[in-house]
Amino acid sequence: MSKKILLVSRHAPYGSSTAREAIDVALAAAIYDQDIGILFMDDGVFQLLKDHQGKYINQKNIDSMLSALALYGIEKIYVHQESLDNRTITTNELILDDLQLLNSIDVGHLLSQQDQLLSF
C-alpha cells in the first residue's frame, strides 16, 4: 500500500510553526516506510539556510531538524531554483548537499507525478 508522496513546504521558518510541523510529518512518513519526497519552494527555502540560531527566540533549530531527513532515509529532497534566485541564496549557503534543483516547469511535472501531495 506504499504510495508516492510529496510534501510541499512553502513557509518561512520560526515566524509560524508550519515549517516545523511539516518536517515532523516528513519524518513520520519515513518512519512508516512510505516513499516520501520533500519540495522546498517560496519562503520554504529559508529553512535550508545554514547557521540558524533558534536559541535567540527560544526555539529549536529548524536546520538541524532538516539534517535528520537523511538519517530517516529521505533522499528525494527538491528545491525550486527560482525561489533561491529570488532570495539571492546560493547552494553553498544551504545546510543540505544532496538537493535536486528544479525549475518551475519541473516542479509542475513533479507535482503531477505523485500519488498524494501534502501541502504545507
Partner: protein, 136 residues
C-alpha cells in the same frame, strides 16, 4: 452511483475553526463527498486544526457551531476524526487519558475525536485514493 466509482477520501485540516474559514470549507467538502456516496476514511486535525476538537466552545446561538457540526457528522457517518497528539498537547487539547498522564485538572477533547500520532496522517495518505489538505 455504481460501486466502482466510490472513492476513498481523507482530509487533513490545519487551521482553527472560526478564526479561519478553512475548517468550514473542509466540513462542507466532507458533507458533499459523503452525500455523493464516497467513503471518508479519516479526518486528521493538525497544527491549529486541533481546536476543532474542543468541547468547551460556546459560540453565540445565532452562529454556526462548527465543533458541534463535526461531532454530529461523526455520529451520522461513524467518522474517524483524529487529532495529532503532539500538536494537541502544545495547544491545550487533551482527552481524559492525556490529562491524567500530564497531571492536568481537566480535559476538553470531544469524545467523537481520537487523539493519536502523525502515523495516522501517513496511513490515511497511504490507503486513501485522495488526500485533500485544508490550510490556513
Amino acid at each position: 452511483m455504481d460501486h466502482a466509482s466510490i472513492m476513498i477520501f481523507s482530509l487533513a485540516i490545519y487551521s482553527a475553526p472560526y478564526s479561519s474559514q478553512a475548517s468550514y470549507t473542509a466540513y462542507q467538502f466532507a458533507v458533499a463527498l459523503l452525500s455523493q456516496g464516497h467513503s471518508l476514511h479519516r479526518v486528521f486535525f493538525y497544527q491549529d486544526g486541533v481546536h476543532n476538537a474542543t468541547n468547551l466552545a460556546a459560540p453565540p446561538q445565532d452562529e454556526f457551531d462548527l465543533q458541534k457540526a463535526w461531532q454530529q457528522l461523526a455520529k451520522d457517518y461513524q467518522l474517524d476524526l483524529v487529532v495529532c497528539i503532539a500538536a494537541a498537547l502544545r495547544r491545550g487539547i487533551l482527552n481524559e487519558g492525556e490529562a491524567k498522564r500530564y497531571d492536568k485538572a481537566s480535559h476538553n477533547c470531544a469524545e467523537e475525536f481520537t487523539i493519536s500520532g502523525l502515523g495516522q496522517l501517513v496511513e490515511a495518505a497511504a490507503v486513501s485514493d485522495k488526500l485533500i489538505s485544508f490550510g490556513y
